[in-house]
């Protein structure tokens, strides 16, 4: 039994072609690899693979968009489930895909609640500023609670190889990272923004589980400050250069500004996921993300042009392109056999969680 399981797995490793003897006898290969790992602790790189296709997704997207419009947005919950299912199932790691199990009704419920809150806020604001402030405080007090439910919903409804993910972050910690820290960030005029960002990610990733294995997060506050400060430096530099160009009277500025802006935005969009995912671990395994600025900016820019010139019909193709780039530059540095993940108590806890889900299940993200 055990032997067969290993055999099955190594055959897949060989199909993936990890750059080693793919033609080896699979059992012998597997054993040698295991010994390698025990002696050298050499992690095995499993890149994520994304098999989504633009045309295929376009057909799904457009039909669901039409249905969403005709139902005044109600069907968009079903559309969202299909979108996530399409992206999850096309995301593969070590020759197995992910799956999304969320129910459209839960998403619809979450959206109705969020819409209701927004309506209350606008109505209060239209009547009196005092009411608006009261509404704002009330909403701010509920939002962290809702984010926790939403995170639980998202992870519990995600699975890989039949094992569910789960989220066990506490409400108290959620109020700290989603309410107290952002408030302090405001008070310090965004001086604490990198700190808050790090704490939010630490809360999200550090409280996530796959089966009974915990995720870990060890990207430091300092490294977040590094990215943010470099970005700030680039903006300051851009400001100085533009100032000089304006003073000299060079029209070059009209080209320089948008291009520089695109690259600085690209820097942020690339370095942060790299930092966050490279700081994330799953049990003894580690993730990596190796996005680069130039290809990212190129995809972003051409996507933008495509969307503008097709009046939005390019949106599904743009999403697929970007997703493919992001996902395929991520991966897992596995320390041992991926197949050895087993479900323990967490899987039982999920089962009881499923019942309370009826009451509080919601997803507020769009």
């Amino acid at each position: 039994m055990v032997l067969q399981r290993h055999g099955g797995y190594s055959a897949r490793g060989a199909v993936l072609g990890e750059g080693r003897g793919a033609g080896d006898d699979s059992l012998a290969y597997m054993d040698r690899e295991r010994m390698d790992m025990q002696t050298h602790q050499q992690p095995q790189e499993h890149a994520f693979e994304f098999t989504g296709n633009g045309w295929e997704y376009f057909k799904i997207w457009i039909v669901n968009l039409l249905l969403s419009i005709l139902t005044l947005g109600i069907y968009s919950a079903w559309a969202k489930v299909r979108r996530l299912q399409y992206f999850y199932r096309n995301t593969r790691l070590a020759d197995a895909s992910f799956e999304y199990h969320g129910l459209p009704m839960s998403i619809l419920k979450g959206r109705l609640i969020a819409f209701g809150l927004l309506l209350i806020y606008y109505a209060a604001g239209a009547i009196s500023p005092v009411l608006a402030i009261i509404a704002f405080i009330l909403i701010a007090a509920i939002v962290p609670w809702m984010i926790v439910r939403s995170l639980r919903f998202k992870l519990r409804n995600s699975s890989y190889r039949g094992l569910r993910f789960s989220f066990s972050g506490s409400d108290a910690a959620a109020y700290t990272v989603f309410l107290l820290f952002p408030f302090l960030t405001l008070l310090t005029l965004s001086g604490l923004a990198p700190f808050t960002h790090q704490r939010i990610k630490q809360y999200q990733h550090g409280n996530s589980q796959f089966g009974d294995t915990y995720f870990s997060f060890d990207a430091t506050v300092g490294s977040f400050y590094g990215v943010y400060l470099r970005m700030l430096g680039m903006f300051v530099g851009l400001g100085v250069v533009s100032g000089i160009l304006v003073a000299v009277g060079l029209p070059l500025i009209l080209v320089l500004l948008p291009v520089a802006y695109l690259f600085i935005a690209g820097y942020y969009a690339v370095r942060l996921p790299n930092l966050i995912w490279s700081g994330t671990g799953l049990g003894e395994h580690a993730f990596y993300s190796r996005l680069e600025i130039k290809p990212y900016v190129w995809i972003f820019f051409t996507n933008m042009l495509g969307i503008i010139f097709t009046l939005g019909l390019f949106v599904p193709f743009a999403q697929i392109r970007m997703m493919k780039y992001k996902i395929e530059n991520m991966g897992l540095l596995a320390q041992g056999d991926l197949a050895e993940f087993c479900a323990g108590q967490s899987q039982d806890a999920n089962a009881t969680g499923e019942e309370t889900a009826e009451m509080f299940d919601l997803d507020i993200s769009l």
């Binding site: 099955g8 296709n53 057909k59 199932r89 009547i127 190889r161 933008m304 087993c342």
Partner: protein, 340 residues
């Protein structure tokens, strides 16, 4: 028989199995396992492009199937119905049809649904909201582009009195009052705020000696207020902005606002016409000639044209291009056929 992969839901290990549907029961056969699950208690995931499909069994285990054709045949033979969206999501014909339908729905809602619903909602907006919108708009304008009026008190009183004499139409619901301001930047103009306030600029007063012409312009502004045009504009542009932001969300919210602004120009053209008609009826009710508005409009047009000649800044030209005012000769002809 389909080759599939079986996961037990407790470990991540995959087991190769041969899947078949015997009667109303799935049968999974692997090297050292044979499992049976009732078809009715199995969740079969929807077909989505070429993605693997999952058969999830009651005990939490599942089978991953990639042979779509074989699975479809098997399900069809067992009488399992496909969801009605399934076929639509995978056909190029439906995709094209859906694209056309979306364009049709968007055009129809922009041309008919949006103005209609904005009108309906605008009429139901509570007075408190209109008051607040009016006062905050005036505050903002005072800060940005308006200055106190330089007209003397008696002239202001005379105009206020002349305006007060103007009988409102019987179906009128709002109360009005005039405030005086000046703005060299905006030139001769008057505009209506949602709460019934009409802002009268000194430059407009200076444009004509005939107070009746000024009253005619005020009647036109009253039409904007009565029909809640400002509220409708706000509702329409925020609705368009919302849809654009959502649709173009991936691009930038900035880009999304541009079309909203350009698109709005044609709306206010209809609104100007509505207000012209309203002014016409008000003037007739008060025994005044609609031609008064026509002459006032012509003077306004001439004044703005000469201003543009003088300043000729690019911004003004851009504003002119996007101008929401309909061509004046056309409006004059409408109101005052005997004119010229």
């Amino acid at each position: 028989m389909i080759s599939a992969r079986y996961f037990d839901g407790k470990t991540t290990a995959a087991k190769a199995v041969e899947l078949s549907l015997v009667g109303q029961e799935w049968v999974l056969r692997g090297d050292d396992l044979e499992l049976r699950y009732p078809l009715l208690q199995t969740q079969i995931s929807e077909r989505l492009g070429n993605t693997p499909r999952l058969l999830t069994f009651a005990d939490g285990g599942h089978c991953e199937v990639t042979d779509h054709v074989a699975l479809d045949q098997m399900l069809e033979a067992a009488g399992v119905r496909r969801s009605w969206v399934d076929g639509m999501q995978h056909s190029l014909g439906w995709a094209l049809l859906a694209s056309l339908a979306i364009v049709a729905v968007l055009i129809a809602s922009y041309v008919y649904l949006l103005p209609w619903s904005a009108g309906v909602i605008a009429q139901r907006v509570p007075d408190a909201v209109l008051q607040k919108m009016g006062s905050s708009t005036l505050d903002t304008l005072d800060k940005l582009m308006l200055q106190p009026s330089k007209l003397d008190a008696t002239r202001q009183q005379a105009l206020t009195a002349a305006y007060a004499k103007l009988q409102p139409l019987p179906d009128s619901k709002m109360s009005y009052h005039i405030v005086f301001r000046s703005s060299p930047r905006m030139g001769p103009n008057a505009f209506a705020l949602p709460d019934g306030t009409i802002v009268m600029l000194d430059e407009l007063v200076a444009l004509t000696e005939k107070d009746d012409e000024i009253v005619a312009v005020l009647a036109h502004e009253r039409g904007h207020i009565e029909q809640r045009h400002a509220m409708r504009m706000v509702l329409q542009s925020s609705a368009v902005g919302l849809v654009m932001t959502w649709y173009m969300g991936d691009v930038s919210s900035l880009l999304a606002t541009v079309p909203a602004v350009i698109l709005q120009a044609s709306y206010s053209r209809d609104m100007e016409r509505e207000s012209d008609e309203y002014a016409e009826r008000t003037l007739q009710l008060n025994g005044l000639s609609p031609c008064l508005l026509a002459t006032a409009l012509e003077k306004l047009e001439a004044a703005h044209l000469s201003r543009n000649e003088k300043t000729r800044s690019t911004q003004d030209e851009a504003m002119d291009y996007l101008s929401s005012h309909p061509a004046t000769p056309e409006r004059i002809q409408q109101m005052c056929p005997e004119w010229r």
